[in-house]
Amino acid sequence: MAIAKVAVIGSGVMGGAIAAHAANAGAEVVLLDIVPEGGRNRSALAEGAIERMLKTDPAPFMDRRFAKRIRTGNLDDHLNQLKDVDWIIEAVVEKLEIKQALYRKIEGVRRDGSIVSSNTSTIRLVALTEGLPERLRRDFLITHFFNPPRYMRLLELVAGPSTRRDAIEAINHFCDLSLGKGVIEANDTPGFIANRIGTFWIQVALNEALDSGLPIEEADAVLSRPFGIPKTGVFALMDLVGIDLMPLVGRSLYNAVKEGDAFRAIHREAEPVRRMIEGGLIGRKGKGGFYRLAEHDGKKVKEAIDLKSLAYAKARKPRLECVSVARKGGLPALFEHPEPAGGYAWRVMSRTLAYAAALVPEIAGSIQAVDDAMRLGYNWGQGPFELIDKIGPRWFAERLKADGQTVPSLVARAAESGGFYRVEAGRRVALAPTGSYRPIERPKGVLLLADLRLAAKPLLRNRSASLWDIGDGVAALEFHTKMNALDPDILGLMRQSIELIGAKHKALVIYNEGDNFSAGVNLGLALFAINLGAWPMLEDLVKQGQQTFAALRDAPFPVVGAPSGLALGGGCEVLLHCDAVQAHAESYIGLVETGVGLIPGWGGCRAMLARGLGKKGFGGAMPAISKVFETIGLAKVSRSAFEAMELGFLREGDGITANRDRLLSDAKARALALVPGYKPPPAPTFKLPGKTARVALAIAVKGMSITGKVTAHDQVVAKELAFVLSGGDTDTVDQTTDDSLAKLERAAFMRLLREPKTLARMEHTLDTGKPLRN
């Protein structure tokens, strides 16, 4: 059964954002809420949710226009709209009676075979469906989204004994392929997987901080980076989630777990937290939390709370030796370090990891389900079992024993046999609850370099990039520098790859599994060369990039770019030279060179111009030139692949993949589809108006300077950009070749590189990661 029409009931933070994400997936959406008391507009709640979400940052919508896919209404007047909906998601308040009453109401209107799910995080399915008609129980499940639903990849799916298998499959399929979620089937146990472990972790971290008096900055520092956990650690995470929720979640889990569960032993309603909540210190949505941003003399200062006195003081950036020693000596060195933070980390993480180990198979059928849930739902770099492997299972088990803690049987088994995960015959296998190792199965359509590299060696490799054979005659070029910044080694491997593929393969995909496809050119490297005054070398690098990307475009086989995350500057220019792009929906693409006082030098100006001029519209070059001038000049970056299409970084016909894990497989399929009869596109030629276009652009820039929208150096950069986009000294009746435009692009780039204010921008951006407006 295909899901095409989705309804969400409850337009609060979660319900609204789930509706928005269903709209992102292309579904027709109905969003209903109750009729507010005393209001004139009976659908004000759902309508207000859309308005609120259009202003929310990070944006729930991947494209503002998707808001139109949502029809809003109220439960009294518009219940009938549920009658032809495929999937109805309940996201109302966590009260059993209210939810059950709503289900009965829904039951009266929904069509046969439609699926109903709850977004509950605390109530078990067995309780939700108790006493409900069999028709509903067969179509009912729990789909637990994480906040914010667009960005958090985890979706816990819980089915009951009566739930139809095909209903589970339909939802799994839609959530995986259309919503891009990592769908984890969880058992019907309290808090399911991620929150069961997460709540335990937060509670024990809070207990230990209170008992040991460790400052919260140190607690967050030691619990985050060393374990691959986001820098919010525990306390800043609670600020984000809302401290007021802590006692509710804690109590609900306490009441739901069985007698003897380790959470019962550690659950506490801490006095300082109670006082904070009373005082409105509930986190970012309140007056402050464990941290707050205070203003001193007009400057924003981050402050941290003292858990004893509840007084704020300037937050310190802890320099912990235990964290530094972990870099060489691993996590055991951190745990054994005499600093208080070392012991603290052991007490928190050992209990949390042991708790997780003791919960399999109660909460999930496999250890990888638990690891996946913590990675996708809490943004941990590694899940609990992967962390134990990292610590060393034997060391971990022994230390637990020495501490007088119980060693869970799975940990003992892993300690005996060398870990939870192993590689056997080029495949990753995982320890099953039965005690044997089983291969990790990937769903059809999931292809990962991470799996591939266990079994094979790259076709080509240098320190910045590798070329892999991904089967069926397709090769994949992977960058692996910091932030996947482009450098001469990447360009070199790209050229080598083009030669190799021409002989042995049919197509190339450019793809990697970093957080970002590429953050652009390695600025540090460029700055180094500028400071040496190595101008010929720099010019050569620009030329190399131009030639390499042109070779990519002119290669005798199809090239498909497959970005996810940032694809900025040079990273964007790589994509602009591909035959097609298969982009992850969360692709943030842009030519941001003007931010550092430069213009795109590796063909970005030309490629964007060629695309703009190729579009049908009213005659003349100026509309295309103006649009490209604006897009590059204002360093616009798309906030999704859909926006990238509007900005012209992607073309109509390029593909968008919702699920990150499916990107490589989709890109490979797209490349193979281009193979039959492939001919490289001819190099573009241009008819550009020269000086006339520059005057038109100068008039626009002047207007922006008078209104204070551009700085003096922006104008210098804009002038160079205008020079390239206008075609230099040409005339509207003359033809300009791609090569002559490449020369202009290079010359303008080199002139800007010598500007002191450009240098200042580059240095600033490298230091702070932010643009300098000089």
Binding site: G619, A621, M622, T692, G703, I706, T707
Partner: protein
Amino acid sequence: MSEVCIAGYARSPFTFAHKGALIHTRPDDLGGIVVKALVARLGVDPTEIEDVIVGCAFPEGEQGFNVARLIGLLAGIPTSAAGATVNRFCGSSMQAIHIAAGAIRMGAGEAFVCAGIESMSRVPMGGFNPMPNPTLYETMPEVFMSMGETAEVLARKYQIRREEQEAFAVESHRKAAAASGGGKLKGEIVPIETEAGVVEVDGCIRPDTNAEKLKTLQPAFAADGTVTAGTSSPLTDGAAAVFVCSEDYAKKKGLKVLARVKSIAVAGCAPEVMGIGPVLATRKALARAGLQLTDMDLIEINEAFAVQVLACGRELGFDQTKMNLDGGAVALGHPLGATGARITGKAAQLLQREGKRYALATQCIGGGQGIATVLEAA
């Protein structure tokens, strides 16, 4: 020699560009509907029309192909009538009237449709493919100055404070809202059918605007400027048309004459103070009519910007009580090519409604010009 008369006036509702009710209506269709309605209301025999003259400031795209000819045909005027598109930017459709007036006095025709159109939604200000002359930009960049910038030049030159401009804007909206609410605009507006329904009222008027609200707006054209979106005419979609004929023709056909065209004038000025253009044109037109400004009972001056009207007022000494009785472009909107026909038609109509003798219709024009028409009640 026959006198030149204005015997009819009609227009479409004026609505916001990019967001108003007429964004999906092609400007040539809009013009066609208005012209057709005007001819039908007057009951004139369309075979007697000499020429359809249409003003348009950016005659390209859907406003291209000599759109006047197409509008004539769309309006059901027979192929025997001619058609010419006129561009004098904001003065285009007043110029269309002037051309007809000249032709009538030459004995080169008796009956003319003089119209104006602009869809600022569908054809951008500046056109689709702006190609400014580089040589002129080097020697005289002010030719290409944005209209907002010229307004700021006047604000500085005449020391016109922001509050004064805002008070003017509030008054323009008040008058327009009163006229619209009081049904005074109904007679001139031709309802336009769109897919979303019939549009029959103006869309730009903000009856509830006030000084407090206007105070909150950011300067639109200079970081330290005084001119805001609230004190400028908005980008607008609209069309307007007047029927210009000889007095003999009107008598023959039993047409009710609204006004006689007493004199006309155009004048040039420095581009950076284009808003002052009406001063020179008005002086010329008054001199040609042998009249003084004090003789004028009614003044219709286009409100491109509040500050520009205030500056003209300082130079000429307008009596505010005679000016823009039904509101001006700050409130009603300013579809560039259509405005001249609207204010000339409006001046003629007001002479009848108010029972007055003389009216002045005048406009500033981008690039540094003014245009003026003096009317006398028939």
